[in-house]
């Protein structure tokens, strides 16, 4: 995983995890508190409903008292109820009284339990219904929910019972107010609160209280029918959790939005920070990979005062030290090479002077033996002297070729190639040929240096044929670009025996040679000349197939 990825992940974790913990905590706390508030409101409403029902019961009782007073003083009612006169007045009495008293239910029964007047259902007169007063009498506090009947439907009423005596007979009055959906809705003054009535057997009894704020009030209940019993109804108050759910959704959305925005900001910051950290490091890594013993001009510069700046400066100082070390190394190498060369020159000169000194000793000995012997001795040994001198001359010429002074003027590579091959001439066993490209740019190299390079490479190539027939090909063409300009590629290929891997590894070492009489400096010099010309040299060889030396020199304008 890259440093940048780690920084991004780290930032995300550092920012999002606390935010998530905060959000979840807020959400949970909010839900708990609101649920507790809802439950409190539900409990309060239940208390209000209980008080309201008690108030309603008191109101019904007061209206029953007033009705009793009215009936007791109504002679027309008395005659109708006791003597059976004016039945129509009696039938309509409860309806009028019920409406005047603001009731929804009023039923007057005689002592036999026979309905003599009914306000909510006028034409149920003469029906025996003793259960209602019997059960209402048993109800706690004398009040109960009653399923009352009309011709068209049933309705629910909160009812109470009272009685009066007329002419020695007892008459009961059951009165009530409708407990319809409107009544329940009025109890639930808050739109989020619902009040429902659960009668015995209602499915509402299975309300799931786990997920809602629920409370209930038990109320005595009298069902309709001749076999009615006193049961219990429940007024169930529920608080809708819709607002809490909506609040939760809002919080979730807000949290999500905050998380997205925070994550985006964190990613941007992390990206910027990681770029600020990793980009200089990547640049340092790239520059570091460029460092080589032949390429120590890489510059490490950074004005930052942080760790990256310090690292850059350290690398710069290290490169600087490397450059100094390389100079010293080259100097050491040069001195070693000069020492080796001096020893070689000393050795070679000694090898050349020893025959001459021996000849001189021979001539001195001959001169000592007589002048006539001198001439003979000289005659005998003149070839030796000449051979030694020639050897020394050859030796001198070879050393003189070791390092020419470069002029560093652009040269025509093809012309230099042609001139070099002309100077080398042809060998009996080797075919030397040129394959020169047209439109070749001029090389930014001294022509004498280039000729020295070519003489060494072509000479080595011809020598590699070891007097066997073969071909040495010198070709030119436009090479790759270097520093923005075209390069000139010169290839010297032979069809000789090629080099082994150990030979290839030491091919550019000073004084390493596989040729009899070779100095072992040719390829070393070639390499140095190419590098001094800011060029590149590489070799491709295959045992038994030949060797190709490829020289790339910067072209003019590069």
């Amino acid at each position: 995983m890259t440093l940048r990825s780690r920084i991004l992940l780290g930032f995300g974790a550092v920012v999002l995890v606390p935010l998530a913990v905060f959000g979840l905590r807020i959400r949970t706390e909010m839900a708990n508190r609101l649920t507790a508030q809802y439950q409190q409101r539900v409990q309060s409403l239940v208390a209000i409903i209980r008080a309201d029902l008690a108030q309603q019961a008191l109101g019904i009782a007061a209206r029953l008292d007033a009705l009793k007073d009215g009936i007791a003083t109504d002679n027309r009612f008395r005659l109708a109820a006791l003597q059976g006169t004016d039945q129509r007045y009696l039938l309509d009495y409860a309806g009028s009284a019920m409406r005047l008293a603001g009731l929804s239910l009023l039923q007057i029964q005689d002592d036999q339990g026979r309905i003599i007047s009914s306000g909510h259902f006028r034409n149920e007169y003469d029906r025996l219904a003793p259960e209602l007063p019997r059960l209402l009498t048993r109800a706690p506090e004398g009040t109960a929910l009653v399923v009352a009947r009309t011709a068209e439907a049933q309705f629910l009423a909160l009812a109470r019972l009272d009685s009066l005596r007329l002419g020695g007979r007892r008459f009961t009055l059951a009165a009530g107010v409708a407990l319809d959906s409107g009544f329940l809705a009025r109890l639930a003054r808050d739109s989020e609160l619902t009040v429902a009535l659960a009668l015995p057997g209602d499915t509402l009894a299975a309300v799931d209280s786990a997920g809602q704020a629920v409370s209930e009030l038990i109320v005595p209940f009298v069902a309709a029918g001749d076999s009615a019993e006193l049961g219990s109804a429940r007024i169930v108050v529920q608080h809708s959790l819709a607002s809490l759910a909506a609040l939760r959704r809002g919080v979730d959305l807000s949290f999500l939005a905050a998380a997205v925005v925070t994550a985006a900001i964190a990613l941007l910051l992390a990206g910027w920070l990681s770029a600020r950290i990793s980009r200089p490091l990547a640049e340092l890594a790239r520059k570091t990979t460029e460092i080589d013993m032949d390429r120590l001009d890489v510059v490490f510069e950074n004005a930052r005062d942080d760790e990256v700046g310090a690292l850059t400066r350290l690398l710069g100082a290290m490169t600087e030290r490397l450059r100094g070390g390389a100079v010293r190394l080259r100097e050491a190498e040069r001195r070693i090479a000069m020492g080796d060369l001096a020893r070689q020159v000393n050795h070679d000169i000694k090898n050349g002077l020893i025959p001459i000194r021996n000849v001189l000793r021979h001539l001195v000995q001959a001169a000592g033996e007589g002048p006539e012997r001198l001439a003979g001795a000289f005659q005998d040994r003149a070839r030796t002297v000449e051979s030694s001198v020639s050897y020394l001359e050859t030796l001198a010429a070879n050393y003189a070729r070791l390092y020419p002074q470069p002029a560093r003027e652009p040269c025509d590579v093809n012309e230099v190639v042609r001139e070099t091959l002309r100077r080398i001439g042809s060998s009996g066993h080797a075919t030397v040929r040129a394959e020169l490209a047209d439109g070749l740019p001029r090389a930014r190299t001294d022509s004498l240096v280039l000729r020295r390079i070519l003489e060494n490479l072509v000479g080595n190539a011809v020598d590699s044929l070891e007097l066997l027939p073969g071909t040495v090909t010198v070709s030119t063409r436009v090479g790759g670009t270097t520093d923005g300009g075209a390069a000139v590629r010169i290839t010297v290929a032979d069809t000789g025996k090629g080099m082994t891997k150990p030979e290839l590894e030491r091919a550019f070492d000073d004084f390493y040679t596989t040729k009899p009489g070779g100095t072992g400096l040719g390829l070393s010099i070639v390499r140095r000349l190419v590098l001094d010309a800011n060029g590149a040299l590489r070799v491709e060889t295959e045992r038994g197939a030949g060797t190709r030396f490829i020289v790339e020199l910067p072209g003019e304008g590069a």
């Binding site: 039945q87 129509r88 039938l91 309509d92 259902f121 006028r122 034409n123 149920e124 007169y125 029906r127 009309t150 011709a151 068209e152 439907a153």
Partner: protein, 445 residues
């Protein structure tokens, strides 16, 4: 409660009903010629005596709408009262069931009793002054809604021949049915032009009031004011001269006012329970004996009694029977309801009482339907049972049966109660007579 004043003695009522019942019997070989009895409109059919002072106009309150589109066949009591003053039939039937001349001054039948020949009155005129001819009678009957008359033809200017589908020994009262009233279309397509003693035009009638102007001398202008939602006691205070009502409060109030007199009209409506035969369900266990025992009339606030036979729907030769043997029973409805036409308090009270008694089955409730819904449901037989108001007496039983009773399914019909209205009249301002079907007629002084 205002005591009902009997119009006829019980013996006479029985004779009248018998005469009506026998009106469709087999023909006699002897032709009938009329009028054979005294002209109707005598004192026996007057419910309010003549005026002590002559009035230029009378204000009559009606509590139901009056629509000229229905003329001359009424759809409610208000239209029956108004149309009766405007349109005439060839004959008229008085409260005793006697047939008397109206547009026709005489009539006679052939020996078979099927072809009846009417001679029109010489002075019979339409409101526009045009004489009433036999062709006018034929044209009026062209769209007749009766199956009793097979054909009609004009013999000459004043003679009309009517061929009955069934022979009759005496002139059937159906010729006094409003459906056979003589009229012609008005140029403005408004009120049809009639031949009655009063006339109405588009300019004198609106939805709120109908002004009937007299064509002869000595008659007042009658203004019928349509007041459907008013407290009827307020109408009596305004003052209205004539009010036909079944409102007990109004009757009680009228009894406290010396200048008002009230008279009970004939029993004019019979409320019946119609229960379609059901698949897999027993019909309501209700019979006339149960009705009488339970005192169902007590459930009705208006003037009511236990329904008393005879009933025109039980013995009407040539008319379909309500039980319709052979008709497939109707599927039982999902909800068992005793339905009634909303706006008819008597029907509602009876439905309520039947539900309270459990007389139409357990779990049955009462339900009021709009008149249109009720009529549709009755014809379809889609409800458990129906409380229907039928006229007590009719002139054309077959037409009334088609109009008021279901015709596509078998059903049981149980009479419940008879009801009647009362006429409250300002004392001394008008003389009122009543027809066989309870129709009030403003008689000349």
């Amino acid at each position: 409660m205002i005591p009902a004043r009997p119009l006829l003695s019980p013996a006479r009522r029985g004779a009248v009903l018998l005469a009506i019942a026998l009106s469709g019997c087999a023909p006699s070989p002897r032709p009938a010629v009329g009028p054979a009895e005294p002209a109707p409109g005598d004192a026996a059919c007057q419910i309010v005596s003549g005026p002590e002072v002559r009035r230029e106009s009378l204000l009559v309150a009606v509590t139901e709408p009056v629509d000229p589109v229905h003329a001359p066949v009424p759809r409610n009591a208000a239209e029956r009262l108004v149309f009766a003053q405007l349109y005439e039939t060839l004959v008229q039937v008085d409260c005793g069931g006697r047939v008397g001349p109206a547009l026709a001054r005489s009539w006679m039948a052939d020996r078979a009793g099927r072809r009846w020949t009417f001679t029109l009155r010489e002075d019979a005129r339409f409101w526009d002054g045009a004489p009433v001819t036999a062709r006018d009678v034929v044209a009026s009957w062209a769209s007749r809604d009766t199956t009793a008359v097979a054909s009609v033809a004009a013999v000459d200017e004043r003679t009309v021949n009517a061929l009955l589908t069934r022979p009759a020994e005496t002139l059937p009262p159906l010729f006094a049915d409003p459906a056979l009233a003589v009229r012609k279309s008005a140029p403005d397509r408004g009120w049809p032009i009639g031949t009655g003693a009063f006339w109405v035009g588009a300019a004198t009638a609106s939805a709120e009031a109908v002004r009937a102007a007299p064509l002869g001398a000595g008659l007042p202008v009658i203004v019928f004011r349509v007041v459907p939602e008013r407290d009827q006691r307020d109408l009596l205070d305004e003052p209205v001269d004539v009010l036909v009502t079944d409102d007990a409060a109004a009757l009680d109030y009228a009894g406290t006012r010396e200048q008002l007199v009230s008279a009970a009209l004939p029993w004019e409506r019979t409320y019946v329970l119609i229960a379609p035969a059901r698949i897999g369900a027993a019909p309501p266990a209700l019979n006339p004996a149960t009705i009488a025992r339970e005192g169902l009339w007590r459930a009705v606030r208006g003037d009511a009694r236990t329904a008393a036979p005879p009933y025109w729907w039980e013995d009407s030769p040539g008319c379909p029977r309500i039980d319709r043997a052979g008709q497939p029973p109707r599927p039982a409805p999902i909800r068992r309801r005793v339905t009634y036409a909303r706006g008819d308090p008597t029907a509602q009270e009876l439905a309520d009482r039947l539900v309270a008694l459990g007389a139409v089955g357990s779990g049955v409730v009462a339900a009021g339907l709009s008149p249109r819904e009720f009529s549709t449901a009755l014809q379809a037989g889609s409800e458990w049972a129906y409380v229907v108001a039928l006229p007590r007496r009719v002139l054309d039983p077959c037409r009334m049966m088609r109009q008021s009773l279901p015709s596509t399914y078998a059903a049981s019909l149980v009479p419940l109660v008879d009801t009647r209205s009362h006429a409250i009249v300002r004392r001394g301002v008008v003389r009122l007579g009543v027809g066989l079907d309870g129709t009030l007629r403003f008689a000349p002084p």
